[in-house]
């Protein structure tokens, strides 16, 4: 799976948890999920659980700690899907 394919599949998952005043166009690859997209910590967990279902992978506590930006998410997913 290419990182572009992951990015395409990831965007609607993130979009579902954006607050009303943040548009889906803001889901750029370098966007910070909590600081820029205003996703709270509880919804960040929801994003991770939805990612696990959509990509059929399992994330660890360490993965969550290293998750800041959309790019981080793509890298974590790419790594798990490959293995």
């Amino acid at each position: 799976m290419t990182s572009e394919e992951i990015y395409t599949k990831l965007q609607p998952i993130i979009a579902a948890y954006l607050p009303e005043d943040v548009s889906a166009e803001n889901i750029k690859k370098d966007a910070d999920l909590t600081q820029e997209l205003n996703i709270n910590s509880a919804h960040l967990v929801d994003v991770v659980l939805d990612v696990e279902d959509a990509f059929d992978i399992e994330l660890s506590n360490n993965d969550l700690e290293s998750l800041r930006t959309v790019n981080d998410a793509i890298a974590i997913i790419a790594n798990k899907v490959e293995n």
């Binding site: 709270n40 910590s41 509880a42 919804h43 967990v45 929801d46 991770v48 659980l49 506590n61 969550l64």
Partner: protein, 146 residues
């Protein structure tokens, strides 16, 4: 962890503690209870001359028992530290009123507890097993590292 130890760890006090006792607790859920005192502060204003327990207080009672007490238990095996708490979402249906002096029983069942987020199905009943309110509550329970 014993019920009395869980209650001792709660970060609430009068007039905002809505936990009297815990009947049972295990990895899947918790059952606990609270009796609303006739002189709770909010009865003076909710409503004028007609005291009924506010929905926000019923939600708080379900959160303190179903999420916080349960979360303290779930985390007790992994860490002994204090907790940082944040309620993150509630969706509750209120079915019957709760009056001053009523005893309520809160039944909480774990939906999931992952990455410090606890999501539970909660139900509040009276002593006659009538459902008073029911819904879903979730929150973040993060062990405080010193």
């Amino acid at each position: 962890m014993k019920p009395t130890e869980i209650i001792a760890k709660l970060p609430y006090s009068h007039p905002f503690l809505f936990v009297d006792s815990i009947d049972t607790v295990n990895d899947e859920g918790l059952v606990g209870r609270y009796t609303f005192r006739t002189d709770e502060y909010f009865y003076k204003g909710h409503f004028k001359d007609h005291p009924v327990t506010p929905g926000v207080i019923l939600t708080e009672c379900m959160a303190q028992l179903g999420l916080v007490c349960f979360g303290i238990y779930l985390l007790s095996e992994s860490s002994g530290e204090d907790l940082q708490l944040a309620l993150s979402s509630t969706e509750i249906d209120f079915l019957k009123p709760v009056y001053p002096g009523d005893t309520v029983i809160v039944i909480s069942e774990k939906i999931y507890f992952r990455f410090n987020k606890l999501k539970c199905k909660v139900k509040m009943t009276n002593a006659d097993d009538e459902i008073l309110c029911t819904g879903i509550i979730s929150g973040m329970l993060i062990p405080k590292r010193s």
